[in-house]
Symmetry: C2
Subunit: 712 residues, 2 copies
């Protein structure tokens, strides 16, 4: 009888792996699925037991994660052990590790760094100066195991190059998400603080695995209520969940909050009652959240209130808030994304014009947060001219992980390559070069804080990010925030190995797809430096024809300036001269279309349709060829994915395939609509051998998307 | 080596059940978890093999579900077999079953009925007249197996008592859900029709398991776009997924659609161009969805357009639409929920006043859809006086499954008892009685269609319904739509056995909690017939003091009419005389407070605070006692659940416990705020021994919930 029962249990249990093969993506890159035999043996040899010092919640999280990982990868749970021994993973700090296991120079790894090393004596040591370093080290070991590194030779040291590695959630208090394409906000504000969704813990695990150590919970287009007692309590409940994972909570503050709550008569940053209100508010927040990170502020931008409403400067506003949080160790991240309808200057110029005069005027705990490019998260932009141009001010890089302008969560577009392109750009602001990454790492501002912000693509959907491949953009952001000089290709490989398969050929293919995917989007949406020709408001689909919006700089025609004679935005000295905001070497090089990198040609130059491109084609023929190339590339993504079917579980393979079908369709739509429009404007026939757009231009113009997602 | 590998696989597999114990609620009542030994043996004996006739998608769904169920419950998959034999489940119709296995009188079970019977010869026969009957029969067998019925004596016949068993989704095209407390709409409109979320199939399975055979995809507050080509394509994609499960798609139509789309110059139902437009539109829809169910319409109600805008009647409007869908076999469900600000009559009267004169004037394929009570889904209402009062018109019962007025998805309130109370009410419209259920079943309208509609509580959240216990309300609705005379207690037991545990004592406790839960809500929110004293707009929390809204009938004070002297809405002949809309026997009985059922006392009567209640208390003391009882009952729910910890997996137990904590807190808030308010209005001291409210009344009045969910 007992045998029969056991047999039944075994039989049932055996079904489990078969069912488990249907993956829904919830587990992200922390899947810990059974390894092939060799990998399993390797893990089992190194992780027979875990030795951990004492039990802070953070160390507990590290041990739990190691246990979960080893169990998942091998089917066997490691034992607890009190003393280091061969075959054990030993976590510890200088205070707890036996001298023989203590790595040299541990102190140099700082507050968050870690060393992971397999000793000759058979122990694997995870060493750090703090508990959070141990957690990061535990994730590093799991990543190594998951990606098939030889664990018996492991010797890795790492410390983050930036101090503040932060997600920006554009999540509203009603649980919508501005520019969110992955469902609702993961913050169930209504149920907080009483109900703490288990998803918050998984969010913390995923972020900690990348080293992300801060999260701004709410939209930069903020509301006064977020700073009232009920919402502080909600934020505090989240902070309690995130704290063991080394993640601090920040809030976006609306500059006019005290005025709108009717608790002051003005929001003037120089009015003593205003400064006093913010100081009291900071005290109240820190009572609830002792490690509160600080405020993120969008001021005097796109209708948000700010210090300029009172004829004060951005520095006046930021410094007043900074004084409120300074006694508690908090910071203010002040966004440089400002542009005004009443300002007739080229929108690309405005942030630089407003902020460079303030360099040196910000308080010590203020960071200025700058988008990667001077317009707004386009598929391709040159780097923002503020990088390198505010040598006395710490600049936070702001990337957008959610794909507002790159096909939502529908299109496969790996952003690692885009982030890398921005970070590796040379500002030419120092002899021998000064990359954007170096600026962000604080090369110009030693001793001041450093940071990177990523506008999150995380929502309530089961996949977290709206699609399986969009998880890679969260991953890549996190890894680049840890090390802005990392390789986007290596990151892609690391992610794909953990997420899909370790089979090397399949991995090559997936990484290849990812590496070309963003370029494909650039080609079928905005080739050769075109930008901001998307649909109005929702930014979905092509709309280069839009010309009637209230603000000139909301209209696509403002950006492409195409007419009978030519196309492109002249930002040289003959035009808006935005180019002068760059270092002289760059201004010189980009001042001539012949020496301007082709991908940015029409960003900086207005050129005749007949302009001769290096390819030998006219500009017009080149433009059409690029659109065609984009479609071909989208088709190639689909074809290559189809061939990967044997390597990916059926469900996720099907999920991705369905989206790639849409991507091909929408790439074709982009190409057809843009080619039809530019043909009509230029009055030129299609280059020989080119396919006609499927529909007349008017049909593309008539398309409406009143219920597009991401309005927030 | 092979042995070692096998051992590793087995070890891993063995972990699975342990992990699986953490349930997140996604599987609903279709969990198919391993049975205890006796049950497993029983299932294995009866389900060694499955014999199915031919493979329509519907039969395939039945076989797949049986296979999934048997495998889940026993760990063993049944074999496929070509010929009936002992120990096999044999599915078939009169055309395919061997005569020896054919149940008598199968034809009488109609298009959707089924017979499930274990034969002496050892086969279990699932017989029906159609494929969908076979699917329903398969679910019936699985339900029996899951709830521990003796499968070797199974002999069940069942046919639905209503023809149209329909969910109404109040889901908007932007994916918000009006009165939705379970995340976004499950319809990912944006991704449709290209991406068909697997959740749609699970939705279909869950509904088919209850016999729900229709779904209105979009909000009754409808938009013109739903009837344009892109949205018809999205609805058609959903219809394709749902069709094998016997579920037809319906759409809510906005009456002014052709006018708003600028395709007609009017929406007057008697204008030929309007009728022609709708006929063409119906043709277009039926080309995409050949089994389209028809239209649901909210007209001339709460600002929605309708035929009265053109001085036409509801019948004129409904019949025009009915003519458009009639050639295709479609129906129109026309809502009777109408009330107008400009009408000074008691809001509870208005539907009856408007609709009874139209009895007999509706086309054959029109059903009038009537809410269970005359106001709006309150925790308790008397049955709607239209039931029994329109003997020539088929009336669809409209229940609200989502708990707009009963604590959202936070409070545990099993609605089975509430639905049952309405259905079992005697309209007294026939000698010997005529219950609401009988009216809905068509006792007065033989040969005409019958139906029930439930406003869905389904959303994108992992639990589907926002909480584990709210799944029971979906379940109870479905089972009552199949058989409006079923017992809510038996349904609760059946649901809980499948959802939580089959342990009889634990089951008794869970069913006990469910059975008292709605009464608890009535007591702490609106005892003794009070109604509509919730917060403005969002309907969250107490707000009996609200008096300043534009429409008198939006104000709580309109409904309770409390003042220094007394409380309650006089609906007798001395008051609004809404009571005269009921049958004379009821009007007589309820005309006197002494013979009015206590739960409805203040619904029909305005009484002095000193009115002597049967309990011997004054009305004032009774009211306070009821509020106190409600709090005590909420506390009892929490205590009883805590004791159930050994019987429920840790995660779901914790999820429910967290919500019960909130429920106790909010019950106390309701009690305190209402007692404080009515004490202030009546000028009476608290009855002796009564606790003072925790806060002064002004503090309750000051509470604001600007971001409450469910706005849609």
């Amino acid at each position: 009888m007992w045998t029969k029962a056991l047999a039944a249990v075994l039989a049932m249990a055996l079904l489990a792996p078969a069912l488990a093969q249907e993956e829904d993506g919830y587990d992200l890159w922390l899947r810990y699925r059974p390894l092939p035999q060799a990998g399993r043996d390797d893990v089992l040899r190194q992780a027979q037991a875990i030795v951990a010092p004492r039990s802070s919640a953070t160390v507990q999280a590290a041990v739990t994660e190691l246990r979960r990982g080893v169990q998942g990868m091998t089917g066997q749970a490691p034992a607890d052990a009190a003393q280091p021994r061969a075959g054990a993973i030993v976590l510890g700090t200088a205070a707890t590790l036996p001298p023989a296991l203590l790595p040299d120079g541990l102190a140099a790894l700082g507050r968050e760094g870690y060393a992971v090393r397999r000793m000759e004596s058979g122990e694997t040591v995870i060493a750090a100066n703090t508990d959070i370093g141990l957690l990061y080290g535990a994730f590093a070991w799991l990543r190594a195991a998951n990606t098939g590194m030889p664990l018996d030779r492991l010797d890795e040291r790492s410390a983050p190059k930036l101090q503040l590695r932060v997600l920006n959630h554009w999540d509203n208090l009603d649980r919508t998400v501005e520019r969110g394409y992955a469902g609702e906000s993961i913050w169930n504000w209504w149920a907080l603080p009483d109900v703490r969704d288990r998803r918050y813990t998984d969010y913390a695990r995923a972020n900690a695995s990348l080293g992300i150590n801060g999260t701004v919970l709410n939209n930069v287009n903020s509301k006064p209520e977020i700073l009232t007692a009920p919402w502080i309590a909600k934020a505090a409940a989240l902070a309690d969940v995130l704290r063991p994972y080394g993640i601090r909570v920040y809030l976006s503050a609306r500059f006019s909050t005290p005025l709108e709550l009717k608790e002051t008569a003005t929001a003037d940053p120089l009015a003593p009652e205003v400064a006093a209100w913010w100081a009291r508010k900071a005290d109240e927040i820190y009572r609830a959240i002792p490690d509160f990170g600080g405020f993120l502020v969008k001021a005097n931008s796109e209708g948000q209130p700010g210090p300029q409403d009172y004829h004060r400067s951005h520095a006046d506003g930021a410094n007043m808030l900074a004084a409120a949080v300074a006694p508690h160790g908090g910071v203010v991240m002040w966004r440089a994304f400002v542009y005004a309808a009443e300002n007739p200057a080229d929108r690309a110029r405005q942030a630089y014009d407003e902020f460079t005069p303030l360099d040196g005027k910000f308080a010590k705990n203020v960071l200025v947060q700058v988008k990667n490019g001077p317009i707004d998260f386009q598929p391709r932009e040159p780097f923002h001219p503020l990088f390198g141009a505010m040598p006395k001010t710490p600049l936070v890089m702001e990337f957008q992980i959610t794909k507002e302008y790159l096909g939502y969560a529908t299109h496969l577009a790996y952003l690692g390559t885009m982030f890398e392109e921005a970070l590796r750009s040379d500002t030419a602001r120092a002899p021998g070069g000064l990359t954007v990454a170096q600026v962000v790492e604080g090369a110009q501002t030693p001793g001041r804080p450093t940071g990177m912000a990523g506008v999150a693509n995380i929502g309530s959907e089961r996949t977290w990010s709206g699609s399986h491949f969009d998880q890679a953009n969260w991953y890549a952001y996190g890894r680049l925030a840890w090390n802005p000089q990392a390789s986007s290709r290596a990151i892609a490989r690391e992610w794909a190995a953990q997420t899909f398969t370790r089979e090397p050929r399949a991995l090559d293919d997936i990484v290849g797809m990812m590496s070309m995917s963003r370029e494909a989007v650039v080609n079928y949406m905005t080739p050769l430096g075109l930008h901001h020709i998307m649909g109005t408001g929702h930014h979905h689909g092509p709309a280069p024809w839009v010309a009637e919006l209230a603000r000139p700089d909301w209209n696509p025609v403002y950006y492409h300036k195409a007419d009978r004679n030519g196309i492109g935005f002249d930002r040289t000295a003959r035009g808006s001269n935005a180019l002068a905001q760059y270092a002289p070497a760059i201004a010189r090089q980009y001042g001539d279309p012949r020496t301007t990198p082709e991908p940015l040609l029409l960003w900086f130059h207005h050129l005749p349709w007949d302009y001769a491109m290096p390819s030998g084609r006219t500009l017009w023929a080149e433009l059409v060829a690029r659109y065609d190339l984009g479609v071909t590339q989208a088709q190639a993504l689909r074809t290559r994915w189809a061939a990967l079917k044997p390597f990916v579980d059926a469900r996720r393979h099907e999920d991705v395939a369905a989206l790639l079908d849409v991507q091909v369709k929408e790439a074709q739509w982009w190409r057809d609509a843009c080619v039809a429009y530019f043909a009509s404007v230029s009055g030129r026939p299609l280059p020989a051998g080119t396919k006609r757009p499927a529909l007349p231009l008017e049909r593309y113009k008539a398309l409406q998307f009143p219920y597009a997602p991401g309005r927030g």
